[in-house]
Subunit: 469 residues, 2 copies
């Protein structure tokens, strides 16, 4: 299955956010806090860090995704008249705050690890610096976009790891958590190594290769299975993948092979067959046999049906003769780890380093940079989290992507982001990306200056807050 | 916490779908199948059933949700010029099929179990009857809407069950799987027993009560915690809930109590405090003590932080003095069961019953109705799945909601749907809705006529498809 061959993959540059009602995609507390800051004239600049607190089960790295949505959101964020009317109706906000919101636009700076790059626990994948209200108001959206898309790109990369060189296609739309979710999954899974999607809107929106042929209902709507196969071949002489498991996979494959032979005699060509249930590995060998006997052994055998990285690995280990995989639900909701513990925390306000001490949720103060070192063999060796103005060996990962509310440079095209992922993923040690078994934690340390700042800030706060009352 | 008291809950009737690009929210195979049907002039009417094949872990019932989106989608579904241009660019579809799509609109019938009602495995929650292409094309969206929203309403109902009479508020937006997902979660969790949401757009869109006050960053942006508390009280003299765990919960609660006392002296009133980390049950008792000592013991104690039905139950069992819960991520992605095994299968084509025999995925032929019987005490006793024209005892659950593509009656308002859920949930035996422990399967059987139809159709198909070639 080489979807890229058959379908154009023009990548439109996102001129405008497709999101609407941007400003109200937020938790109410962002607005009540903002109202209080406004009341108390707290307009100094703040810095916030977006990072993951802990690895979810079976993960030891993350694939950055979601930055494009963040930048479009920050650029386009405005409160409409209808938004303000609604907020006014809540009888919580004063007139001068609503007037402030009417003129609101984001004027801050953003530093971020680019989409497609790998990052690890505690590393800021994004930092915002802006007047306090602006930096605070955008919290909910920023977590939502980066948490979800990073989680999916990471899950997709595990399937990519399991599948070896075999192509993977996103089939998740029907059981994604909403339709917009399905759209983001198509994009994020492409970043994480997939080659295309069944999602037509994702094809149109992001220029992704789209893939798909038939469902079981197609077969059952004909009096006989073989008639369904023949009809499809007639309509799509170059793009026919026959679903063979509606009644019985082996008998279905024999019929598909016969139709493939008929197509070959007409100078056409059966592109492949799809298996969607049963013992995929065992069946695939019988299916190949049927295809070879009919002289159409070159047809692709495509597997789908409740697949994830574990099933893919199992099918390959059991000698499954599968050329490509359609991966749906379990990838599309990241079923074994359906959320990341991602947080957006204030690290500085008006030049003062800040942090929280809540048990299990303490944060690191200060604006940061991440420095990545490679081994002599070109493999990822270690990361150091330092202060923004630390000068340490290694590649600094966070780049300035927005200044004064303006996106700084053209956002990279999707295939470029995907290539960035593939290149770096190849440099990550196998032990960190193993689908099964024990995975060590990638070495990430904190710079001496950051540690000193943290100790000092912690002592100051503990003295002030825990002694008194 | 009684969000309904403080905030207006006007429920706008949905005049138009807020979804856009409706027609391309689909898998490519829906369109390739449709093109083949069109080529072969297969325009007879088909019937499809939407149902769940298996219970996910720890679930023994489902709360129907998503129908409103389905009806708006079916009513508004059209292919735009841009959609057709994109499809044409794929070089898969013939001109006459694209012309067909240009005039496409859904003209079929829909029968459905109303939102808020309970249903069980194998029961059709929705059936579509329409010309084959129309009934097929809508598959992806229908599964997406009903699968996701039903899953969330069901998860929310488990939290509702665990919380007893304590109010629950949806805090899930930031880690929902996309922003539209967060919107649907707010609505579905309200159906499943929640009283409000932190999601402002959900407040505006669905008229839901919105709730929220402050984050840890609010506290850290002030020099001292108590100054943050005082400032908030000044801005919101009637709506202040103070987050007390930024540095240390007990010391935070003492400061909150002091500010509560100051507010009382000014004739204002501290609404409550929020605990977001640590041993919630134990801390809550110390927090109450601090509040009582300061003479503000009536303030609400609100708990949040990685809550789900298990944590809620545990907090209550350990004697937690909690008045209300904010439930976020784990409810918003249904973390322990992040998808349902929901399918949309053809059951009839041109008067002929159809089914598939795939291992583990066999389907029941024929258009259906579900008949629900109550015990003399008014409890749910059993359901029988029959053919549509069966006349059996019990209440028929599927209602005709769309005819010739028109929505048949005003869609029920959200509070009405929620009430329907609460009433029926009270009639479901405790053993089916237990949060922990063994849960028996609710008795659902198939009517004799449906069984006979199924046997006959299975024999016919097996003879035709498995014997030959």
């Amino acid at each position: 299955m080489k979807p890229g061959d058959a379908f154009p993959a023009a990548v439109p540059s996102p001129e405008s956010s497709e999101l609407k009602d941007l400003a109200l995609i937020t938790d109410l507390y962002e607005l009540t806090m903002a109202a209080c800051y406004h009341d108390h004239r707290m307009f100094e600049r703040a810095a916030f860090s977006l990072f993951v607190r802990e690895y979810p089960p079976r993960r030891r790295y993350f694939v950055a995704a979601g930055l494009e949505d963040v930048l479009l959101y920050l650029r386009d964020l405005r409160f409409s008249a209808g938004d303000l009317e609604y907020l006014d109706s809540l009888q919580l906000f004063k007139e001068d705050f609503l007037s402030y919101l009417e003129k609101f636009q984001f004027s801050g700076e953003v530093q971020a690890i680019p989409e497609g790059r790998l990052f690890f626990v505690d590393e800021p994948v994004l930092e915002v610096e802006a007047p306090l209200i602006e930096a605070q108001l955008v919290e909910t959206f920023l977590i939502n976009a980066v948490n979800f898309q990073t989680m999916i790109a990471t899950k997709a990369s595990r399937c990519y790891q399991a599948a070896g060189q075999r192509p993977l296609v996103d089939f998740s739309l029907r059981r994604a958590q909403g339709t917009e979710s399905g759209l983001r999954v198509a994009r994020a899974s492409y970043i994480g190594g997939f080659v295309g999607t069944s999602n037509v809107l994702a094809g149109k929106t992001f220029g992704l290769p789209v893939v798909g042929t038939m469902a079981h209902s197609f077969i059952t709507s004909f009096d006989r299975e073989i008639e369904a196969f023949r009809a499809f071949g007639r309509t799509f002489p170059k793009n026919t993948v026959l679903l063979v498991d509606t009644y019985d996979t082996v008998s279905g494959a024999s019929k598909a092979a016969r139709v493939g032979k008929e197509m070959a005699e007409r100078g056409e060509s059966l592109r492949g067959v799809r298996l969607d249930s049963g013992n995929i590995a065992g069946l695939s060998r019988k299916v190949r046999q049927a295809l070879v006997q009919a002289g159409v052994g070159g047809a692709t055998i495509f597997a789908s049906g409740a697949l994830d990285e574990d099933r893919i690995r199992q099918i390959i280990r059991c000698g499954g003769d599968i050329d490509a995989f359609g991966v749906g639900t379990k990838m599309g909701v990241s079923a074994d780890a359906p959320y990341l513990d991602m947080a957006y925390k204030m690290v500085e306000y008006g030049q003062r380093p800040v942090l929280k001490l809540s048990p299990g949720k303490a944060t690191w103060a200060g604006r940061k940079q991440v420095f990545r070192s490679l081994s002599p063999a070109g493999k990822l060796k270690k990361d150091v989290i330092g202060l923004r103005d630390d000068r340490l060996p290694g590649e600094p990962l966070l780049q300035k992507v927005m200044s004064r509310g303006k996106i700084l440079s053209g956002m990279p095209a999707l295939p470029e982001i995907r290539k960035k992922f593939l290149d770096e993923f190849a440099k990550l040690g196998e032990r960190y990306k193993a689908v099964e078994g024990r995975r060590p934690v990638f070495p990430v340390s904190f710079s001496p200056r950051l540690r000193r700042l943290q100790s000092k800030a912690t002592r100051t706060i503990a003295r002030r807050e825990l002694g008194e009352i």
